[in-house]
């Protein structure tokens, strides 16, 4: 847990250094109030849109007779592989006058609705159809059943996805900076650029932490009311599929439309830049080295994150209590901090505590762990919750020691969750830029940093292949996530 505390400790140290007058001067202004409101507003709008889009898509691909639904499930999840800075850049290239709150909301929604889609789709597939059947047998209409039973069944999954989206929006820099939406995170980055004002940036970040605490409190409240809806024994069987009938075409058009906006616009835009520009990326070995570096640091980050997330996730699932909840929530705090602040905090940590690790891959992996721990903890806890604790108790009662039970029962049951968490962290690590720039070993280029280097001098054509490769590699773990949520299984027949 110390990992999540590094940035918080850093913020505390630097904020204290700033002195009371500076803090008040920085924070007590209408500017900060406006920024806070706008950040929260953006988080609200994007989260709402993601929930509607995510739940709607999840329902279409899991519970209807939509043709090609497996293909659509993959297509709808792929935006997860597109970094917001690429998407925003693509949109600005296509429509140069695009700027401000609503365009940023659009781009953020298109990039992050899979955070809701994936857990909700998994929950929809896993939910016990018996409850819906009972509801229908009691003469509730299909719509009433959906709102009264189905939506309740997927509420924990929806809330978890929505929380990730909201925190992501608070910390995102790519979309808000390129589309010039003035949010807190943009103000933090601007504070760095404006006269290298570390203190201002750090003081603003502590407000971001406060906003996150607010959000977490909100989510915890819904969590308490949302009980677990597990299968109550019986054979595993799929739910009835809704016949779309005439609604088929509009449904397909809607899914294609979203995919077109989320994937088509970036693809076309990148292709146009590639065709129009004269610059070319480095030779193949250079591109491959960057891809290799991206892979190694992201995999190392994912491995380290899972190592740290496993005990915490299991604890959350098996020993719920105020202390566990507090630990779990703490992991989320760093998730909403901008990468540049987490990066600086780890520089501070590396210089003062772990100097031998400074500017090695390990410190970068640690940064990823700090940033993305909640993604992993949620995945592990989710998987552990799906398997009954009874199995472990039986193993114990048959005389197995606690370590043997962990090794032979708990871990195998949690493995799908570990895989999903690792895939998600890996994918997010591939896309991460600000902390990577600050912490990478000197001379190590990744796909994300190469992309940054090229676009910074207007060499867009040189940047395009790196962007394409980044999205292509990220698509693999995305596919794994889709497979994990069961959307590709063939068992579902009418």
């Amino acid at each position: 847990m110390a990992v999540a505390l590094i940035p918080l400790a850093y913020l505390a140290v630097r904020t204290a250094e700033a002195g009371w007058d500076t803090i008040v001067g920085e924070l007590w202004s209408t500017r900060v109030g406006l920024l806070a409101l706008r950040s929260l507003g953006l988080a609200t709008v994007v989260t709402t849109a993601c929930v509607l889009l995510g739940v709607g898509t999840a329902f279409l691909v899991t519970r209807t007779d939509l043709p090609g639904r497996r293909l659509f499930a993959v297509l709808a999840s792929l935006p997860l592989a597109v970094p917001t800075y690429i998407a925003a850049f693509a949109w600005v290239s296509a429509a140069p006058r695009l700027e401000g709150f609503w365009p940023a909301a659009l781009v953020l929604t298109l990039c992050s609705y899979p955070y809701v889609l994936l857990p909700v789709a998994a929950a929809l597939r896993g939910a016990d159809p018996a409850q819906e059947e009972v509801s229908r047998s009691l003469r509730r209409s299909g719509w009433q059943t959906f709102t009264a039973v189905t939506l309740r069944q997927i509420r924990p999954a929806t809330a978890a996805g929505a929380l990730l989206v909201a925190l992501y929006v608070l910390s995102d820099f790519g979309a808000v900076s390129i589309l010039r939406a003035d949010t807190f995170t943009r103000a933090i980055f601007v504070a760095f650029d404006l006269g290298f004002d570390r203190t201002g940036a750090v003081v603003l970040s502590s407000v971001l932490v406060a906003l996150t605490v607010l959000l977490l409190a909100g989510e915890t409240a819904t969590r308490r009311r949302g009980a677990r809806y597990a299968r109550l024994g019986g054979a595993r069987r799929p739910a009835l599929r809704l016949r779309l009938g005439a609604a088929r075409l509009p449904a397909i058009a809607a899914l294609l439309g979203v995919a077109g906006l989320a994937l088509g616009v970036p693809a076309v835009s990148l292709a146009r830049r590639l065709a129009a520009g004269m610059s070319r990326p480095g030779a193949l070995p250079e591109v491959l080295t960057a891809a290799g570096n991206s892979l190694t640091v992201s995999v190392a980050g994912a491995a380290l994150t899972m190592l740290l997330a496993l005990p915490l996730g299991l604890l959350t699932a098996r020993a719920p209590g105020p202390l566990t909840t507090a630990l779990d929530r703490l992991a989320y705090l760093a998730h909403a901090l901008p990468g540049v602040v987490v990066g600086l905090s780890l520089i501070f940590f590396g210089i003062n505590v772990a100097y031998p690790l400074y500017q090695t891959r390990w410190l970068l992996a640690l940064a990823y762990a700090t940033l993305f721990l909640p993604l992993a903890v949620a995945a592990v806890a989710g998987a552990a919750l799906q398997s009954p604790a009874g199995l472990e108790e039986v193993a114990r009662s048959l005389g197995r020691g606690p370590w043997t039970v962990l090794r032979t029962v708990t871990l195998p049951l949690t493995l799908p969750g570990i895989g999903a968490g690792a895939a998600l962290v890996f994918l997010t690590g591939m896309k991460e830029l600000p902390a990577t720039l600050l912490l990478r070993p000197t001379g190590t280029d990744t796909l994300a940093t190469e992309l940054w280097t090229s676009t910074a001098v207007g060499a867009y054509a040189a940047a395009a292949p790196y962007a394409a490769l980044l999205v292509a590699i990220s698509a693999l773990p995305t596919w794994l996530l889709v497979a994990r949520s069961g959307l590709l299984d063939k068992e579902d027949r009418q």
């Binding site: 290298f196 600086l344 210089i351 400074y358 891959r361 207007g458």
Partner: protein
């Protein structure tokens, strides 16, 4: 399910393998602490200048001297923050920054050593620190980029201060977060006083400003007619022409140099400073000398479209010579009151 589980196992195996590989890798790399002994034929350079622009130059340096350059690339602002955070333990030998303000920030913390006099004397006093702690290696002029279809050359303003007039409402693009813009505002404060600078910023704010994230975007937008004029540095035309496969002269966008020593025609520098720990490192010294040599200076003129700072090397072809510019009489050493400029820009409401 089975397939998924197998994939998961493969993934975990791959992770373990990578950790092993990464461990081996970091052995070779050596840790930050090992690097940077004096005269070990290698230096670590924190480069706030873009890799695409300076890597060829660094490679040439290595070729000629046998000194390996470990270059760390990020934005100038980020590296300045990183250096300050690292303090005495920084593995950096040299800071290669995009503007004088960042060099001033690091110098103020007492982190730079004094450069040798023979080195700094190659550069006119205007383009280096008075105390010899950093030296400019290339110069960039502030200009007004304009689209001649929207603004005929005879209607261009004589002074940057005219841009707050009603006729320019909604027509002027600039990047208030950009370090060059900040240096320009500082220059107004130095030349005309704080009141004038505040008035100017307020005037810009009230005139429906077209705010952009960076200068490159401004020049693109002026070139394509989205905005009629923009306040930028002169060399962005070269970059954009290069990407379009043409010459700066062939672009739609043109440059206007404010006449008569107007603050709008400020000339700023990109430069280097040597960190204290490398004060006596001959490798770092050689690097600074290399940057001020004819070959590197020619590279700046031809490849990055900047002005050389030593005599005898011609500037880029598409702009008037540095000597012919009516540069405002400002000492770059006076541009170190960045804090006041920053709070002024913040208060103006031009940035979030």
């Amino acid at each position: 399910m089975l397939a998924t589980r197998r994939t998961t196992r493969v993934l975990i195996a791959a992770s373990l393998l990578t950790i092993g590989l990464a461990a081996c890798g970091s052995d070779e790399e050596g840790t930050a602490a090992d690097l940077g002994k004096a005269d070990d034929k290698q230096i670590t350079v924190y480069s706030g200048r873009n890799e695409q622009l300076v890597k060829p130059l660094l490679d040439k340096f290595t070729q000629q001297t046998g000194i390996t350059v470990n270059a760390r690339y990020a934005s100038t602002a980020q590296l300045a923050a990183q250096l300050v955070e690292e303090g005495d333990k920084s593995p950096a030998d040299v800071f290669f920054a995009q503007d004088a303000g960042a060099l001033g920030t690091v110098a103020k913390r007492g982190m730079f050593s004094t450069l040798s006099e023979t080195t700094v004397e190659k550069v006119p006093p205007t383009y280096r620190a008075g105390n010899g702690q950093w030296v400019g290696v290339s110069a960039r002029a502030r200009v007004l980029a304009y689209n001649p279809d929207q603004v005929p050359a005879d209607q261009l303003p004589n002074s940057v201060f005219d841009l707050t007039a009603a006729q320019w409402k909604g027509k002027v693009a600039f990047a208030p977060t950009n370090a060059s813009f900040q240096a320009f505002v500082t220059a107004i404060r130095v030349q005309h006083g704080d009141a004038k600078a505040e008035e100017f910023l307020a005037g810009l704010k009230a005139n429906d400003p077209q705010i952009r994230d960076g200068n490159g975007k401004i020049v693109e937008d002026v070139n394509s007619g989205v905005v009629p004029v923009g306040l930028v540095n002169h060399y962005y035309l070269g970059e954009i022409a290069k990407e379009k496969g043409t010459t700066p002269e062939a672009l739609k966008v043109k440059l206007h140099f404010f006449p008569g020593g107007d603050t709008g025609a400020l000339v700023n520098v990109a430069g280097v400073g040597v960190l204290n720990r490398s004060a006596t490192d001959p490798d770092a010294q050689k690097f600074v000398d290399f940057l001020l040599g004819t070959e590197a200076q020619t590279h700046f003129a031809e490849q990055t479209f900047e002005y050389p700072v030593i005599t005898g090397v011609p500037g880029p072809a598409y702009v008037p010579a540095l000597a012919d510019l009516a540069v405002p009489q400002i000492d770059l050493n006076d541009l170190d009151t960045l804090d006041a400029t920053v709070s002024m820009i913040k208060d103006s409401g031009l940035v979030p």
